[in-house]
Amino acid sequence: MTTFAFALLFAASVFGYAWNRQAASSLRNDGQRLHSLSGFHGLYSFLCVSIPVFVLILVWLVFQGSVIDWLVTAPIAPENYATLETGPKQLVLAEIKSIAGGRIFGTPEDWKLAAAERLIQLRTMSAWLLLAAVFALAVTQVLRARRRVDADFRARQGAERMILGLIQFCAIFAVFVTVGIVFSLTFETIKFFRMVPPLEFLFGLNWEPQIPIRADQIAGAGAFGWLPVIVGTMVITVIAILVAVPTGLLTAIYLNEFASSRARAIIKPILEILSGIPTIVYGFFAVLVVAPAMRQFGADLGIAISPNTALAAGSVMGVMLIPFISSFADDALSAVPQSLRDGALALGATRGETMLSVLFPAAIPGIVGGVLLAVSRAIGETMIVVMAAGLIANMTLNPLDSVTTVTVQIVTLLIGDTSFDNPKTLAAFALGMMLFLVTLVINIFALRIVRKYREIYD
């Protein structure tokens, strides 16, 4: 039925376009001077029809579910539904829905069968109502737009205003989503800090986010000091950057200055493939290949290395970031004008000297921007560390130990039974908030630097 509604929307818009356009053309053929081209009259009608009808369909779809639920459950005897808790209520509703869908388990009570019957009726009715509403609105809008066609009507301005509104809406939409996410993060974080003092969270050295499962359990007070977690993140990030930045930079320098066009044509696509590999694949590469190899190597040297190490996770993450850094540095280096290269070469500089003393300094702001973006990616990376770094929050700087990161902890906190009223779950939001703040600061820095470097050569 929704498909029909959309088909109707489309048909009406196209009809409105054609009708208005044709009307405007015939005015012109009668010798009148039109203010707007006939195409704009058509466009005006198209937008007049499609925007409101589309909004109508969307609103309908968003609200029909809850309205129908309400109508279905309203007549049920209060002791069977209205007085229940949220959880059981949802169970009842789900059962009614599955009965309506034809999947009946056991012998449901009569009131459930009746409710299912109502549900089916309401759904059909809603679909027809939607079609009727769409039809009515579309016809009204087509007629209204058609009535406005005359020589003086400023259809172009009208259409442009609507398009402008549409564009503005899209831009604002992203802002709203961001604000919404930040807001909900903040909200839950505040709830968390009501249960756990901020000082304990920010400066605590223990991260043991257990909570008692039964009220009488003694051993599970839980500790929520985020330092070991953020330190783990930092250790892994530093390792990743230490791997990625030199390799990526040298790759970019090679590709930019020294590679023949054939080598370039081979290496660049391969780097692109590298950056297209899903992080989960890197993750099992880290667990199944890199970590065992390191362990074996350590065993040969007589060093005990735990199966999960920051080094394995970090270095694989570094490999993941190589194409990121190299493509950023490559762009930055190529953005240095050829004339600077020529200038240095013509003075008798070697290619190496040209690179080091002219190209590299000129490209450095762009490169730094890329590195900072890579840092914030490394901090936010989850999959590789979930698989390869471990779960235990050790307060350690030793890369051969297993560490855990902010993202891993968020995953483990939210896996399984969650309810939003205990510090264990809320801690995930607090961690998320901190992660968000850290990457935000880094991104702001990165964008600043990148922008500054754009200003130099334009």
Binding site: S261, P337, S339, L340, R341, D342, G343, A344, L345, A346, L347, G348, A349, T350, E353, S357, V358, P361, A362, I456
Partner: protein, 265 residues
């Protein structure tokens, strides 16, 4: 053997600093220079004139092997500097470019300070023994390029912050700071006002005492003012080459005459 070449040089090449024989240049399939032969005399200003796209810049870039940096560019023929083939395998283009300075059509100062721009060449070639030495080299180069007075108080500000004309003179200073034997200038005055142009022309005239100078220009007046020899290029051919005064007054080739009178260009 060595003596032999020296004698030969003395006999045949009189004062030729650079001698090109049968130079052909291709950009991919575009035949941009066709069989160009020319002798560029030492301590002389030679100007290249000709319509846009006729290959003046391309030929200039052959002389210090800047075309090496363009993948699709292929140069054949012989170019001798002091009797030595510059395209020979034994010649290091880096050394060659230190001997032959170049100023480009568009000013291209490095994003460094004015001082570092000028000091760059001397530094990489180890021409200065001390900081004071370097200061002297920088000052001399800036003075010769007629820009010292404008920048002496801001030597450590970025070179990219100068005006277009000042940047070009800075680039000239940068090129002469390495004390090259030949200076190639590709339309060095196209971004300059008349006063700065006059100063650069004065500089060119002064450089002539020590160097061979080759200048590409679109201004026939400028060619007439500063050069002793003029070469006219057209569609990749070196059409005519001779003493500037003679070429401008009694050109031998009808194409030269048409260009000088503004009929082709």
């Amino acid at each position: 053997m060595n003596d032999m070449t020296k004698v030969e040089r003395d006999l045949n090449m009189s004062d030729a600093k650079i001698e090109a024989r049968g130079v052909n240049l291709h950009y991919g399939t575009n035949h941009a220079l066709k069989d160009v032969s020319i002798e560029i005399a030492d301590r002389t200003v030679t100007s290249f004139i000709g319509p846009s796209g006729c290959g003046k810049s391309s030929f200039l870039r052959c002389l210090n092997r800047m075309n090496d940096t363009i993948d699709i560019c292929r140069v054949t023929g012989q170019i001798m500097l002091d009797g030595q083939d510059i395209n020979a395998a034994s010649v290091d283009p880096v050394q060659l470019r230190a001997q032959i300075g170049m100023v480009f059509q568009k000013p291209n100062p490095f994003p460094k300070s004015i001082y570092d721009n000028v000091a760059y060449g001397p530094k990489i070639h180890g021409l200065a023994k001390s900081k004071a030495d370097m200061d002297a080299i920088v000052e001399k180069a800036l003075r010769r390029a007629a820009i010292w007075d404008e920048v002496k108080d801001r030597l450590h500000e970025p070179g990219t912050g100068l005006s277009g004309g000042q940047q070009q003179r800075l680039c000239i200073a940068r090129a002469i700071a390495t004390e090259p034997e030949v200076l190639l200038m590709d339309e060095p005055c196209s971004a300059l006002d008349p006063i700065a142009t006059a100063q650069v022309e004065e500089l060119i005239d002064e450089l002539r005492r020590d160097y061979a100078v080759v200048i590409v220009t679109h201004s026939m007046q400028q060619a007439a003012r500063v050069s002793q020899k003029t070469a006219f290029f057209h569609l990749g051919h070196l059409v005519e080459f001779g003493d500037t005064g003679r070429l401008f007054t009694t050109p031998n080739d009808p194409r030269t005459e048409s260009y000088l009178t503004g009929r082709i260009g």
